[in-house]
């Protein structure tokens, strides 16, 4: 179980998060929907440990993560830009966590095969399409054996047709992890296809809703 409790964060005079609270049980893919600038990225940066909150807590299995530096949190992070390491091959990108004692060498091939990346394992990120870059970013996060997954609009670079093809596959992979997943998107179709639960975020915080449509109408 992952939980965020009463999170506050301000930048100078601008209050970005004001008492943000929610929890995500294991095996759940929670889709977070909110307008630009509402604080979604700030929330993710606090969970990863890149930013520190002014107050509040981030809990994983009832243990606070705030005392741990980013590298100790076991957070799998797939950003919007994929953020692949441009100087490393696809195989080395996926297996990056191995350098820090995470993941198992024998799992590299399984993940590459699972994400249909074997053909490109010796290629470099600039040689891949947006869809394949998103696969690599997901594979890299999966390989690190995370305790929670954060995906920040991971399929922005992918067209609608390709998304429709990829999302059920992504959903299956994420559900097999049996960990809490937080997935941010601006695309209602993507939200409906990937999510198992939904919440909407506005200036007042987050509100859990029953469907992707309800989340999008909430933020209108």
């Amino acid at each position: 179980m992952f939980a965020v409790e009463n999170l506050h964060k301000s930048f100078s005079d601008k209050k970005v998060l004001q008492g943000c609270s929610f929890s995500i049980p294991d095996k759940e893919i929670r889709v977070l929907i909110g307008r630009n600038g509402v604080g979604k990225s700030t929330l993710l940066k606090i969970i990863t440990g890149i930013l520190y909150p002014d107050s509040g807590d981030v809990l994983l299995n009832q243990r606070s993560l705030l005392r741990d530096p980013t590298e100790k949190r076991r957070v799998g992070y797939v950003p919007q830009s994929s953020a692949l390491f441009p100087h490393l091959t696809i195989r080395d990108n996926v297996a990056y966590a191995l350098r820090n004692g995470r993941g198992k060498e024998e799992e590299i091939d399984t993940i590459l095969a699972h994400l249909d990346l074997h053909e490109y394992e010796h290629a470099y990120p600039y040689q891949l399409s947006g869809g394949y870059r998103a696969r690599v970013a997901l594979g890299r996060a999966l390989f690190s054996n995370p305790a929670i997954m954060l995906l920040d609009e991971p399929l922005t670079e992918v067209d609608h047709a390709k998304k429709t093809e990829m999302l059920p596959e992504f959903k299956k992979i994420l559900q097999e992890l049996s960990i809490p997943v937080l997935y941010i998107t601006h695309d209602p179709r993507e939200a409906a296809l990937i999510g198992t639960s939904y919440m909407a975020m506005d200036a007042n915080g987050v509100t859990q809703v029953n469907s992707a449509e309800e989340a999008f109408s909430f933020i209108q």
């Binding site: 940066k45 990863t48 440990g49 890149i50 530096p69 980013t70 590298e71 949190r73 957070v75 799998g76 992070y77 950003p79 830009s81 994929s82 953020a83 692949l84 390491f85 441009p86 100087h87 990056y96 966590a97 350098r99 820090n100 004692g101 995470r102 990120p125 600039y126 970013a137 890299r140 996060a141 690190s144 670079e157």
Partner: protein
């Protein structure tokens, strides 16, 4: 159809030719075969050339290494007092008269403070020449590395951190490989700057022929001795060396711009 040149273009051409190209050409026009022969047969010229290469290369390496330290602060610790001080002092050696820089080094590493290292401290040695060149060229290295660090997508570093890298590991494993050609650009820039340094080198390193004399001080000595032909030949050699460095730098900079380093 040719477009009509503007007044600014018309004014720029004679000003540029008179003030920039003409002085360079003046050196080349005054080259004489005797001067060239005298210079290339002078062992002190070759020892000053050797000293210049060794010290400028040493200064370029030192400056780039220290600049990498600054790059680390620039990437991870911009709010720290150390970063603010270092950032401020990056510009100081540029604004400071280089005689003052030389005197500062002399007082800091000379006989009084570093007497244990020799009768003149570190002063008037090849190391002193290297340090003088390093002192004036480091800001260029720091600026080059900092601007290259700015070009790296911060999210790449954040991801590396979530995969278990500490800031230091992410800097070594991700930032340094991505700096790549910027490191070479920094070295070439520092080398070029070191090649042209005179005042700080003379003040701290001295101008001992065959020992601490470099090309810049060799030219100065020849002018002082009235051997203008030899001074002109050595200067022409310096111009050739500088043009080569500038061309290398241009090629490196162009390659960096063409490739770009932010992921799509």
């Amino acid at each position: 159809m040719h477009k009509k040149p503007s007044t600014i273009e018309i004014l720029f051409i004679p000003a540029f030719f008179l003030l920039i190209l003409y002085p360079i050409c003046a050196i080349l026009f005054h080259l004489t075969p005797e001067g060239i022969v005298t210079t290339i047969s002078d062992p002190l010229f070759w020892s000053s050339f050797k000293n210049t290469l060794i010290t400028a290369f040493g200064a370029a390496i030192l400056a780039t290494l220290l600049a990498l330290g600054f790059g680390y602060y620039h990437m991870f610790n911009r709010d720290s007092i150390m970063y603010r001080i270092a950032d401020l002092f990056n510009d100081l050696p540029i604004a400071l008269p280089h005689t003052v820089a030389g005197l500062a080094l002399l007082l800091a590493f000379g006989r009084k403070a570093f007497g244990f290292a020799g009768s003149t401290g570190l002063a008037f040695t090849v190391l002193a020449v290297t340090l003088a060149m390093f002192f004036v060229s480091y800001p260029l290295a720091a600026r080059t590395i900092a601007s290259s660090v700015d070009e790296i997508d911060r999210e790449i570093i954040d991801v590396a951190r979530t995969l278990g890298d500490s800031e230091g590991k992410a800097y070594v494993r991700i930032v340094l490989p991505l700096l790549g050609e910027s490191l070479i650009s920094s070295m070439v820039l520092c080398f070029s700057r070191s090649l042209s340094e005179f005042a700080a080198v003379i003040m701290f390193g001295g101008n001992v022929p065959g020992m601490t004399q470099v090309l810049a001080s060799y030219v100065f000595t020849k002018v002082e001795e009235g051997q203008i032909d030899a001074a002109v030949s050595a200067s022409a050699f310096c111009i050739l060396l500088s043009i080569m460095l500038v061309i290398i730098l241009r090629i490196l900079t162009r390659r960096r711009h063409v490739r770009g380093r932010k992921p799509a």
